[in-house]
């Protein structure tokens, strides 16, 4: 069983996650309903119970490199079933913010890359240009032909148009400005 060594950093990290996420992890009963419910937990991805235990135990490096919060799709099932209603996707955001600030390498680079490309589109155009986002992701991960078969079927059916990839879109400086302001002043508390 892990015990606190009394080092201030252990307490700081827990406090930081609680403050940032607004979730009182001290109430966690370690009942494990969350992990039994989590759709993304597997033999390779620990469930929410373990992640909360890491945070409570001050295991900062373990928590920040835990793949679970990258995998989290914020389905909300764990919170729905949690007896003390801990919102894990708010905890995921808190961990992501702390990890970015401290320069921790993403434990799931593919998921991170997708989220970055997605947000780039929002930042530039104000909206997500889906086809371009998919194409950029497949290009950057060097899976050039991934899902090409589905794309061709959808194009044949007229559901999507290849011109979508080529045409230029209006940039939206108003949304870019929000990103800029968040980067400048809004970081952290």
């Amino acid at each position: 069983m892990f015990r606190f060594t009394g080092d201030a950093s252990e307490k700081n990290f827990l406090r930081q996650v609680i403050d940032k996420s607004g979730q009182n992890l001290l109430e966690c009963l370690q009942c494990g309903k969350c992990s039994g419910s989590c759709p993304v937990a597997s033999e390779n991805v620990p469930g929410p119970r373990q992640l909360v235990a890491e945070i409570l135990s001050g295991l900062k490096d373990e928590a920040l490199s835990n793949p679970l919060w990258w995998y989290c799709v914020s389905c909300g099932t764990c919170m729905t079933r949690c007896p003390v209603e801990i919102n894990m996707y708010e905890v995921a955001t808190a961990l992501c913010e702390i990890a970015q600030k401290e320069g921790v390498q993403p434990s799931e680079p593919d998921i991170h890359l997708f989220e970055e490309i997605f947000l780039k589109s929002v930042e530039k155009y104000g909206r997500v240009k889906e086809l371009r986002t998919v194409a950029t992701y497949n290009f950057r991960t060097r899976h050039f032909l991934k899902d090409m078969d589905k794309g061709i079927i959808l194009m044949r059916k007229g559901a999507i148009s290849p011109f979508e990839l080529l045409k230029g879109w209006k940039k939206d400086p108003r949304v870019s400005r929000i990103f800029e302001k968040v980067r400048k002043g809004g970081q952290g508390e």
């Binding site: 389905c75 959808l154 949304v175 302001k181 968040v182 809004g186």
Partner: protein, 291 residues
């Protein structure tokens, strides 16, 4: 009835059939959808994961635009847009410090005074079943449907504040109002893999695969969805799931608004039913809903 319509990015991209059918169904039911020309993305799951303030600000920007009009209600067909708009609205209402920081970032005033509806909730609760029943021209008799809600429209309940998070019934009721044969199943709100579609495709194949297996076992003609991410995952990955499970699945995945439109007398192609990978037309023809 006039409401603000927030289609979201997918509905002007890969989920156009959803947009087309939503607009048609709302028009038929006497709902005027006012779309703000200036709307921008809610940030979806990437913004929610990466930065809490950014996520709130991106939704708040849209809410602030709508607050300037005389409209009080917002309808979002995409369950994730619904979740984000509603969360931002509630958080700004209850957290003055967050409100201050958000206003600073979006350079606009926001009160948090709007009512945010998901489309299913709006149709089931605000419009109700009676007007739907009265508009049905072609009852969907004999069409065996599996109602699939996905996560975001009902979970977590403190955020969505809609229906039962484990066993919702509103979609069942709307489909029954169209005369369809609604099948019961246990996976109404189980996850399809959502935003992991590209980065962790195998996970989606596993999770959506479970749903398909159960739906097939129940004898579904179609799976009805309210979310374009559920639609995309179940439709796009069906071939991969078939290979993985060594079992041939051909279950069309359709939006609930497409079926409402069909029952109201529109043709399948007017509702974009010809735009899905697993073609719904053969089963519709076989059941006599399409020539």
């Amino acid at each position: 009835m006039k409401v603000s319509y927030y289609p979201g990015c997918s509905l002007e991209g890969t989920a156009r059939p959803y947009d087309v059918s939503v607009r048609y169904v709302c028009r038929s039911l006497g709902v005027e959808l006012q779309e703000s020309q200036d709307w921008s993305c809610c940030g979806a799951s990437p913004a929610l994961k990466m930065n809490s303030l950014l996520s709130t600000a991106l939704s708040a920007r849209n809410l602030a635009l709508i607050e300037k009009t005389d409209i009080t209600d917002v309808v979002a067909p995409c369950p994730f847009c619904f979740r984000r708009l509603k969360s931002a609205n509630e958080d700004i209402k209850t957290d003055p410090e967050l409100k201050r920081r958000t206003q600073e970032v979006i350079e606009a005033e926001i009160v948090g005074k709007l009512t945010i509806h998901n489309l299913l909730g709006f149709i089931r609760r605000q419009i109700g079943l009676e007007p739907i029943i009265s508009k049905v021209k072609t009852p969907l008799t004999g069409l065996k449907l599996i109602p699939y809600y996905g996560c975001y429209v009902v979970k977590p309940p403190s955020v969505a504040q809609f229906d039962n998070p484990e066993s919702p019934t509103s979609l069942d009721e709307v489909m029954a109002a169209l005369g369809a044969d609604v099948l019961d199943w246990d996976f109404k709100t189980e996850c399809c893999g959502a935003g992991l579609a590209l980065s962790k495709t195998q996970k989606v194949i596993e999770l959506s695969g479970r749903l398909l297996k159960e739906a097939a076992w129940r004898g579904a003609d179609m799976i009805v969805v309210v979310c374009q991410l559920c639609q995309a995952n179940l439709d796009m990955r069906q071939g991969d799931i078939s290979s993985k499970q060594n079992k041939k699945y051909e279950i069309p995945i359709v939006y609930f608004t497409q079926l409402i439109g069909l029952a109201f007398g529109l043709s399948p192609s007017e509702l974009g039913l010809n735009h899905h990978i697993i073609d719904p037309l053969p089963v519709l023809r076989q059941k006599g809903f399409s020539s």
